[in-house]
């Protein structure tokens, strides 16, 4: 069986290579569909003359026929050069360099919700399915439905209001949770060893900066946890309800297994298949970043940069970000397929 699994995994990995090329081609086609001219976009339209724009066009290779441009693009991808961003906060940085600065911030933002939410949500979903129509079920369903139905920005804004207005009012101005950005503007940065701000603060031995960063991260973590909790709880509850009707659960109960072992050993593993899809999707969303949450809390991460790049039509940055998303999506598809075969080995034999 292990041989079959390894063959399946190798087959899937080999399938990824043509998909990578397809992704590059599609990204390039998308870039051609955008009606912006990268060379003209870089300069102020009123003060620069045509010669500078033409020189820039030649430098970027934009006057060559389309297949040569595609070849240049693919060659640059494999060389690691994704262009240079020229608008907005990331002005002057190379795209790969700027993404290297920004992605750790998003990972810091997303890592706690991605780990915490599935653990809590699976437990809640299982409890809600096992105690169906009892008060616990109603409460958990209420929370799950409220977390799914309310938009995530509303939950974020309510938490902001709570942290900055209600909490100081209740405690007489002592405690408040800051809501904007990822650090107090009067604090400086720790020395950038790894670009992960938390790890940098630990490594450069600055506990005050560490505490400040963590306090700024509490509300975004809470928002993201609530939103993912709701979705995973609903999926777990519905699949668990389906599984608990099956015959093998009835057999296990008739055999005399304790109720907790019936649920956690027999029923849960079969119910985890759709849930594992959602959890892997959560990890993928963690690497992609959330545009909405980062915009609310003004947290400079990958989502915020995406929004800014699209707003300002920052050509190379948009391409670089789409390419990054495509790679993440392909990799996460591969991982979720492999995970499927581990959880449910019957899939290979189909």
């Amino acid at each position: 069986m292990a041989q079959n699994m390894i063959k399946y995994i190798i087959k899937r990995i080999l399938l990824m290579i043509p998909m990578l090329f397809l992704l590059l081609i599609i990204t390039w086609i998308l870039s051609r569909l955008m009606s912006i001219d990268p060379a003209a976009n870089m300069f102020d339209p009123f003060t620069t003359d045509q010669a500078t724009v033409d020189a820039m066009r030649r430098k970027l290779g934009l006057d060559q026929p389309w297949f040569i441009q595609l070849a240049i693009y693919i060659k640059n991808f494999f060389l690691g050069d994704l262009g240079q961003s020229y608008l907005g906060r990331s002005q002057g940085y190379q795209v790969t360099e700027y993404l290297g600065l920004i992605i750790p911030r998003t990972v810091e933002l997303m890592i706690v919700p991605t780990i915490l939410a599935p653990i809590i949500a699976v437990k809640l979903g299982v409890t809600s399915a096992a105690k169906k129509d009892k008060p616990a079920d109603t409460i958990i369903r209420g929370i799950a439905v409220a977390g799914s139905a309310l938009p995530s920005f509303l939950i974020g804004m309510l938490l902001m209001y709570f942290g900055s207005v209600i909490l100081p009012a209740l405690t007489g101005g002592e405690i408040f949770i800051p809501t904007i950005g990822n650090k107090d503007p009067t604090f400086d940065d720790p020395t950038p060893f790894t670009n992960f701000r938390i790890i940098d603060c630990i490594l450069s031995n600055r506990p005050d900066l560490l505490l400040d960063t963590l306090i700024h991260l509490i509300l975004p973590w809470l928002t993201l946890t609530i939103v993912s909790l709701a979705g995973i709880t609903r999926v777990t509850r519905s699949t668990m309800l389906d599984v608990l009707q099956e015959d093998y659960v009835r057999t296990a109960r008739a055999k005399g297994c304790s109720e907790s072992s019936v649920i956690s050993k027999h029923a849960l593993r079969n119910a985890m298949i759709p849930t594992s899809t959602v959890i892997v999707a959560g990890f993928r969303n963690a690497l992609i970043g959330s545009v909405i949450v980062e915009r609310i809390f003004n947290y400079i991460g990958l989502g915020f940069t995406t929004w800014e790049a699209i707003l300002y039509s920052d050509y190379w940055m948009i391409l670089g970000i789409i390419l990054y998303f495509g790679i993440i999506v392909l990799a996460s598809n591969l991982i979720s397929d492999v995970l499927y075969t581990i959880i449910d080995p019957r899939i290979i034999y189909k």
């Binding site: 920005f153 804004m157 995406t306």
Partner: protein
């Protein structure tokens, strides 16, 4: 013994009575002395339509009532608020960000537009947007799903691989890019949401068509000479469609959430009244006047809640495995 005989007699009399009397209940001030409360309860329980009784759960009723409320707000919008769309979205008013007063029951938002009026007119946008996007998704998804599942083989696996990747992409970012390409009118946004929703439906329809295809009557239809098109859309499709109905309502809810999120980020049409733009606009005054963002947000949440409750109720009612 006599009491049970009496109850049985009463039940036999009731066999058509509830239906016959139903039209009189809709008349106000009508009363029938013989129709006691007990008989009314008995008549209710003996409803012959099982699907209706499976749908008649408390949460589904709440969902239907919420949807009815939003629909009434959308249809009777001009009666419910004295302002016209022109006053609410085009002409600057006098007092921006004012406190609630007599003319403006919930206060005003940027440029002096009445919040309560924008809430009521926003119901129209929400309902039409959700339905329009879902129609494209469902029709495209059904066609592609049935075709790919029926023919199987290479076409099926290629289409499903493409759709797997398309599902995995975050829709918000794709919609942002396409809105940037093609302009931010409402019809463009809804078309993009519709097209991006096709993979979900294609996968649902495909899995149920794969199950229906194994039945014997399909083989019989093929043997008696039906062509492929007829088998696909007259024999297979009606049997494969029930999981689709259950997920349409939840999907409308998620589409409304997605459109609000897009409006919140600022990329939506500025010539329509949308709850998302109101939330975005009220963000600057969040700490001093939170109700400006709060009311549209509550309405979005309540609308999506209604759709999700109805969707869950229909799914539970149509599912053959759930016990009642």
């Amino acid at each position: 013994m006599e009491e049970t005989q009496e109850i049985i007699n009463t039940e036999i009399e009731l066999k058509g009575k509830f239906k016959r009397m139903l039209k009189f209940y809709l008349l106000p001030f009508w009363r029938d002395e013989e129709f006691l409360a007990k008989e009314y309860e008995l008549g209710k329980i003996k409803s012959k339509r099982k699907l209706f009784s499976r749908l008649y759960t408390p949460l589904t009723i709440i969902g239907v009532l919420i949807l009815l409320f939003i629909a009434i707000c959308a249809v009777y919008a001009s009666w419910l608020t004295p302002y016209s769309i022109y006053d609410l979205n085009a002409r600057p008013g006098t007092d921006p960000f004012a406190f609630p007063s007599a003319e403006h029951p919930l206060g005003t938002t940027i440029l002096g537009w009445d919040i309560y009026g924008r809430l009521i007119y926003g119901c129209r946008t929400a309902l039409t947007a959700g339905l329009q996007a879902i129609t494209i998704s469902v029709i495209g998804g059904i066609i592609i799903g049935v075709i790919s599942a029926y023919f199987g083989g290479k076409i099926d696996s290629i289409i499903m691989r493409i759709f797997d990747i398309l599902i995995a992409f975050p829709t918000l970012i794709l919609v942002l890019i396409f809105v940037n390409l093609y302009g931010s009118e409402l019809s463009n946004i809804l078309t993009v949401y519709g097209v991006l929703g096709i993979p979900n439906y294609a996968r649902l329809v495909r899995s149920s068509v794969l199950q229906v295809k194994e039945n014997l009557y399909i083989n019989a239809a093929k043997t008696s000479g039906s062509d492929n098109f007829r088998i696909m859309f007259s024999h297979i499709l009606p049997n494969a469609i029930s999981p689709l109905i259950a997920s349409v309502f939840s999907a409308i809810g998620f589409t409304i959430l997605g459109i609000s999120a897009l409006a919140f980020l600022g990329f939506s049409d500025s010539s329509i009244i949308d709850w998302g733009t109101d939330i975005n606009v009220g963000r600057t005054r969040l700490f001093t006047k939170p109700w400006i963002s709060l009311w549209p947000g509550i309405f979005v949440g309540v609308t999506v809640l209604g759709f999700m409750l109805v969707g869950d109720g229909i799914r539970d009612a149509l599912d053959p495995k759930s016990k009642k």
